[in-house]
Symmetry: C3
Subunit: 366 residues, 3 copies
Amino acid sequence: MDTTPEDPSQMPTEHRVALLSRSDRPFHVILAQQFDRELIQTLCRLAERVRAIAETRQGANFLRTLLSHKRAMLYFTQPSTRTFLSFAAACQVIGLSNNEVRDSSTSSEVKGESEEDTIHVLSQYFDVIIMRHPGEGFAELMAHRLNQMRRSIPIINGGSGKDQHPTQALLDIYTLHRCFSRLGSDGMIHQFEDNPFAGKTIAFVGDLLRGRTVRSLVYLLCRYPGVRLLFVAPDELQIQEDILEYAQRYNITHECPSSLPSVISECDAVYMTRLQDEHDTAGESKAIDYDRFRLDLDMKDKFKPHLAILHPLPRRNELDVRLDTDPRAKYWEQVRNGMWARAALLAYVFNVDAAIIDHHQSHYSY
Amino acid sequence: MDTTPEDPSQMPTEHRVALLSRSDRPFHVILAQQFDRELIQTLCRLAERVRAIAETRQGANFLRTLLSHKRAMLYFTQPSTRTFLSFAAACQVIGLSNNEVRDSSTSSEVKGESEEDTIHVLSQYFDVIIMRHPGEGFAELMAHRLNQMRRSIPIINGGSGKDQHPTQALLDIYTLHRCFSRLGSDGMIHQFEDNPFAGKTIAFVGDLLRGRTVRSLVYLLCRYPGVRLLFVAPDELQIQEDILEYAQRYNITHECPSSLPSVISECDAVYMTRLQDEHDTAGESKAIDYDRFRLDLDMKDKFKPHLAILHPLPRRNELDVRLDTDPRAKYWEQVRNGMWARAALLAYVFNVDAAIIDHHQSHYSY
Amino acid sequence: MDTTPEDPSQMPTEHRVALLSRSDRPFHVILAQQFDRELIQTLCRLAERVRAIAETRQGANFLRTLLSHKRAMLYFTQPSTRTFLSFAAACQVIGLSNNEVRDSSTSSEVKGESEEDTIHVLSQYFDVIIMRHPGEGFAELMAHRLNQMRRSIPIINGGSGKDQHPTQALLDIYTLHRCFSRLGSDGMIHQFEDNPFAGKTIAFVGDLLRGRTVRSLVYLLCRYPGVRLLFVAPDELQIQEDILEYAQRYNITHECPSSLPSVISECDAVYMTRLQDEHDTAGESKAIDYDRFRLDLDMKDKFKPHLAILHPLPRRNELDVRLDTDPRAKYWEQVRNGMWARAALLAYVFNVDAAIIDHHQSHYSY
């Protein structure tokens, strides 16, 4: 093991993506940029099948056999309940035994162990490490290190540093897929559209500077020509330049309006986000007028009939609770979609996706 | 969702019970008053069958298939080891995957989320929420809120506020059932009596003011005409008036003697409780002479031959450890009964009780 | 239950071992002295079979049926990640449901319960208690107490006080077995040698005073005549006299050299350990020159070609990370061996070892 390793974040993106892959599919899942259009569609279709199969007791029991021979470690040293439980539930859906390390203070690090040694140890007991970590690039670095070991297992990034949250992006685009598709009477997509986002306007609203969720989702949406993106944020919290450049490179139309009421009537989807003031260094958020970035029941008249309202949650008052029972509120379903999308992703990484497709085909006529 | 909801605790009890039911059986389990005599007997019988089936490896493996397609969330934001583990073990007995939130400080609430949003999120991942919460009425309010959601799942109250602990009451009455029934050579009840408590004297001893356990159990015992209840407590810690009125309404004979030694020889069962001095506001418990509410080895001569000694545990010195090996000490079995009773209740809520009854009938002759 | 029990640690070892056994096999696993040569060989062979069977999906699923009808409690009130997760993974390998108590502050002890009552309660819900506890002799005392209960379940010692860590010793000797055996092309031992350690030199290096790991392993190695043990430690941290006497009694050759470089070329295995300075009372470790007890890449020229490097981990700088990719570094495999050895031990305690042997025989030709 080299003690002064090459920093993967300095490599070109394609090279990084290649190092995370084996046999042409992601082995480690670290970066939203690993998801190209084909893979996104594959995973969304797979998630939809998992959802459909899980509807029956017999189907749910089938799914639980898929990875009953494997064990997952949820290494979450950054606080998280939602993402943690989403992954835990996803593991249970496909039968993966799950284990956790959540508080680094109970771990061997108190005895002076390096975190890299901790990861090596975990890789001996488990078959996949799902990791949420405050360190930017830590998950990717560990993926590279495990690649050098005799026993090498996949790492799934459950949110790292300030930049990447690829599985959130996956569940978000899966939710958008469902919002923009025709659903059967069973609530399922029977026919997947190749590009349901062409001609649609999607607004990202709020603190776009400090949330990794929006950044990750934009990487995915840029794979869909014809989508129009609105970044609706206070000047101080506008999305970073590199993301706008990314959209530019992919020829994705985008604008940066300065308030939500002025554009809400054009939106096919709004993706609300909360003020991330825990990242404040000197209470700077207090000076910001966040009211212009709030979705209120009063704005209902301006909503398109099929508007989709998303929010990665937790929310504060930027999203009116009185909208919760409106059929356009998709954020509760979005939560549940996270479980299906993550179950699909894990199944794909472990190459049991074909078994899911077979089971679906033999039980459903569409 | 209404932000100023009707407070369910202000409704008449029958109305509250009705709102927690679906198709004539409890959907949510929140209140001890939901258990009428027929339901108590049904659940005790079911618990006894679960216990019998679990005796063999093949039976235990059968039970684990019952709810292997479901996931439970144990949301325990009030500290508890015993009840938590009892539910966790009960889930495992019937194959329910279990997950936990135990420390609200690790949850999204630190990011400003309302606890109601947290419950809504959990309801997306799981199929039942078992909840222990310091807030009086919180479990019931959440049950009402989930009733309004597209995806609505049951809530089981694992102890809320100061008043309700319905599953403890269930395990207690199941234990009393076993104590007052003739057991077969296999240690099982082969024939359930309709009212084994008629003519029996049951004493509740200790801090009856501040323990929700006794309150909940009295609701259940009042369904059995002919039982005689003794509330043996210091004046300052005597059971609340509403419970005495409840017993009155059901024509249940009850008395409030002021020391245990004076009545122990009349008792068929004693239900000991500890001093709950963690609820003291100014150390007022120190002034109380708790010795008259202690069960001591020295009192053994006065015990009826078939006295049943119960305690919800944890205990302090109000229950002499030298009684632990006396066959009349039923408190360890009472602990284990909690697991069976909770497994039975979960099976019942999920409508898999018929499968248990069928399996029992085809494997046991009684 | 007697409140002034006989202290088991004052009994002769054979008597202690007998009290922990039933039907000639360990019921409780508390002391390394319970493992005689025959039992060590049996458990190592069983661990190797579990490893081999787990290689295939079908085999892994078979193993998970072995104890799917049982529930384990991991009662770890002394901080531990590695041993905890090793046991948790081991339980999952053989299908044991696992549950945990890790922080005694969340338990009923805050309500004034004795720890003995806690163990009695746990024994009602679970079928085995795996215990890591700071109290010397606590696990053994609880084993004796449970022996007196109507419901009596096994206790497995996962590390107690300063002296005993029998399952670590088991995984260490299993690792040494694999290091000194001829492996097939599948990486498995096809033929177990009766005494692979005769004529071998094994060095224990570092803080031998304060680590229970080495103490426990020496008990096991003394069962193998012809092995030569080197205790390489600073004078202040040399292994305790009782262990040297134990080796003496078994006629095991042993020496106490004062630096590693002077003896490394003679070693067939080195067992490195870190400085346990968390046990310092006044920072006394700082005065110790630990450099002479460090294994460095520079010493590679002196290594025997088949040297086996072990470390119980966590490590600090006493073991050079640049050795990690050397094929003689066996410490990552040692970690994984812990999972197999503990799975084998649990299977043995629950008498399902025969099923493992049968399955192995019908699927493997050796």
